[in-house]
């Protein structure tokens, strides 16, 4: 029980971090305006989703420089495609992250063709804090999560990125990945179990450091 209470302390609060979203009604109205080319609506969509797309790109690529490029590419692709977006197919967020998912697939394919490593380990991964050493002692850092996620199979890493970096529902994650919901649940479970092993303190109360 000791280790659980200590971990409870470490995550400093048991609520999920809030995922900044807008009301479905506003999103729908805005997307509809964007579909006919309203620049302000497109700008609103960009503002709402850009941080999440970026976070998704970081989660998938583990590299902030490539994540920036990819984020821009996703929105340009969105611009080219939004006229064809239809509500009856998927929710907007699932549609957008499907674009992101495809962009990343293209990115990996190109990187593989070039033969270079796709995820260089950066020193500047942002975690919002300056005192990294102290922060690591207190809670799971993005650097640890990133390193741990790199050890997951790609399918699991993708689910983690969409579920926990972006905040999509199981259903939307399944839509983005073109998988069944049950499949996503299974991948989520396996991924969480592995991350837990790597990130959560063992019996002696010391959290293993992911190398």
């Amino acid at each position: 029980m000791t280790r659980i209470s200590s971990f409870r302390y470490e995550v400093s609060g048991l609520e999920f971090p809030s995922l900044q979203t807008v009301s479905p009604e506003l999103e729908r109205a805005t997307v509809d305006r964007a579909r006919v080319g309203d620049q302000q609506a497109l700008a609103d969509i960009y503002d709402w989703y850009m941080p999440r797309v970026y976070r998704y790109a970081v989660a998938r690529l583990g590299n902030t420089v490539e994540a920036e490029d990819l984020t821009e590419e996703v929105f340009l692709r969105m611009l080219g495609a939004i006229g064809d977006f239809r509500w009856r197919d998927v929710p907007f967020s699932a549609w957008l992250f499907r674009i992101a998912h495809n962009a990343i697939a293209t990115h990996f394919r190109r990187a593989a063709q070039r033969g270079g490593p796709t995820t260089a380990i950066p020193e500047d991964l942002i975690d919002g804090r300056h005192d990294i050493e102290a922060a690591i002692e207190q809670q799971i850092t993005i650097e640890e999560v990133r390193r741990a996620a790199q050890l997951l199979p790609d399918a699991q890493r993708e689910v983690i990125a969409l579920r926990f970096a972006v905040g999509l529902s199981i259903a939307d994650t399944a839509r983005v990945l073109g998988k069944r919901e049950g499949n996503v649940k299974a991948l989520q479970h396996k991924a969480v179990a592995k991350l837990q092993k790597m990130l959560v303190p063992e019996k002696d109360g010391v959290r293993p450091r992911v190398q």
Partner: protein, 480 residues
């Protein structure tokens, strides 16, 4: 068992994330998984919290957003080039109704005691519902295009300003940035002109923007960062600004007056510095300086004569010396060319003698200052009076030729400036309106050489045509 745990975990993540259950609630909901479920949920929260710390660099976020906005603008432009949306006309109508509504509300606010007519109230209600329809139809399709024409106070004006900021942000070379800044400074002048034309209020903010967006150009000019082409453009824009500001000077509210004075000062500074740059460039071609300041006629003591004065009459007049001739303006055109023998007035140390011919009357430098009239043989009343300060006309730096129409009072000054022959349109009649050269430009460009032309310009008086005709040039003068 594994499948059950997967489902339990998936359910609990959703429940906890939605704030509908705590982790403890979930563990109680699935007692068979106990601490295993608790740890998994804690892992999920930890991972999600870690990801939440990931944020794009502010510099990246800002630049990427601007690039995106430009891309949206380009896409919009492409779309419009191909086929205008059928909703365009509907939305244009809605915009009109919304503007009407806003005006109605403003009027109501300013005169709340007034009875609002039944029809007007319904009109506003209609406009409101049309606005809702506009959103549905996609009225925003043309936001950028119509924002380009918007004025301060319009609902689309912020879009226009944002588009300008984006243009600037996306322009990287200093040259190109200056071009954009020049465009923007010109746009501000045009907006003020249009606000005035439509009788709309000119707020201090409107003038402020003009100052804010002109000042960097003046600064660049003073640092010598503008090439001659850019300086020439700045000069034109600043001249226009000056003129626009002069036009609205009488109409602005007291709170705006101070800003206006500041703006006029800045525009004058811009004119001067840019004129200096263009004049002194050894590589520059000969130039034409156009008359840009509209002359406002002042009431004349004689019903048949119009006495005119330049926009800045105090700039050339020495204290104590009258700007005009001592004798009253004759009510009828003068036959021949009459030049006074004795100086009637001295200005800037130059003795002046009167000259009358046709419909014009003016003062010109006395012969002792080296200026002489070029006589036109065989004409009692010449169409043009020519005055020059050099027998070998325009052959060397500083030599000048003034040409004045005896019909309209229009005046052109040709001057050899460092070997180039410039034409300065000192006074021009266009569509019945009289425009004179911007004195700041003329002085900054030609320095002391401009002294005599400005004095002569200042003294020109034209006898009004007694019979009203639209074009004075088409009316023949009296006499043979």
């Amino acid at each position: 068992m594994t499948d059950d745990f997967e489902r339990a975990l998936a359910d609990c993540v959703e429940l906890v994330r939605a704030g509908r259950r705590s982790i403890d609630d979930c563990v109680r909901l699935y007692p068979q998984f106990g601490e295993r479920l608790r740890l998994a949920l804690l892992t999920v929260i930890g991972v999600q919290k870690a990801y939440e710390g990931v944020a794009p660099r502010p510099e990246f976020a800002e630049r990427a957003r601007e690039r995106f906005l430009v891309a949206t603008g380009q896409r919009l432009q492409e779309a419009m080039d191909i086929e205008p949306s059928p909703t365009f006309f509907a939305s244009a109508r809605v915009r009109f109704l919304m503007a009407a509504q806003r005006m109605g509300l403003a009027q109501r606010a300013s005169a709340s005691h007034r009875h609002v007519p039944f029809v007007a109230a319904h009109f506003r209600a209609l406009a409101g519902s049309m606005a809702a329809v506009a959103v549905f139809l996609g009225a925003g399709t043309y936001t950028v295009a119509s924002a380009d024409d918007s004025l301060p106070g319009d609902w689309q004006y912020p879009v226009k300003l944002q588009t300008e900021r984006v243009r600037l942000a996306l322009t990287f070379s200093d040259d190109a940035r200056r071009d954009v800044r020049l465009d923007i400074a010109e746009e501000r002048a045009e907006e003020i002109e249009q606000l005035a034309e439509r009788g709309r209020r000119i707020t201090p903010g409107v003038i402020d923007r003009l100052v804010d967006q002109t000042a960097p150009l003046v600064e660049a000019a003073e640092k010598g960062e503008l090439d001659t082409g850019e300086a020439a453009r700045l000069r034109e824009i600043a001249q226009r600004q000056k003129q626009v500001l002069a036009q609205v000077a009488g109409a602005v509210e007291p709170e705006t007056q101070e800003k206006l004075t500041e703006a006029v000062q800045l525009s004058r500074q811009a004119v001067e510095v840019s004129a200096r740059i263009t004049a002194n460039d050894p590589q520059r071609p000969p130039q034409v300086v156009t008359a840009s300041v509209e002359l406002t006629p002042t009431p004349s003591p004689s019903p048949t004569a119009t006495q005119t004065s330049p926009a800045t009459p105090d700039a050339t007049a020495s204290p104590g010396t009258p700007a005009g001739p001592a004798t009253p303006v004759p009510a009828t055109p003068v036959e021949g060319l009459i030049v006074g023998e004795e100086p009637v007035v001295t200005r800037d140390s130059i003795k002046l003698v009167p000259l009358s011919s046709g419909r014009v009357r003016m003062t010109i430098p006395a012969p002792e200052h080296g200026w002489s009239i070029v006589r036109e043989p065989g004409q009692s009343t010449p169409e043009l009076v020519r005055i020059t300060n050099d027998p070998a006309i325009l052959g060397s730096h500083g030599s000048s030729l003034l040409v004045i129409s005896t019909l309209t009072g229009d005046m052109y000054w040709y001057v050899n400036f460092n070997g180039r022959l410039d034409e300065v349109q000192m006074r021009v009649t266009r569509n019945g309106k009289v425009f004179v050269a911007d004195e700041d430009v003329v002085r900054a460009t030609y320095g002391d050489l401009a002294k005599v032309p400005l004095i002569v310009l200042d003294s020109i008086e034209v006898i009004q045509d007694p019979t009203p005709t639209p074009s004075p040039a088409a009316t023949p003068t009296a006499g043979p």
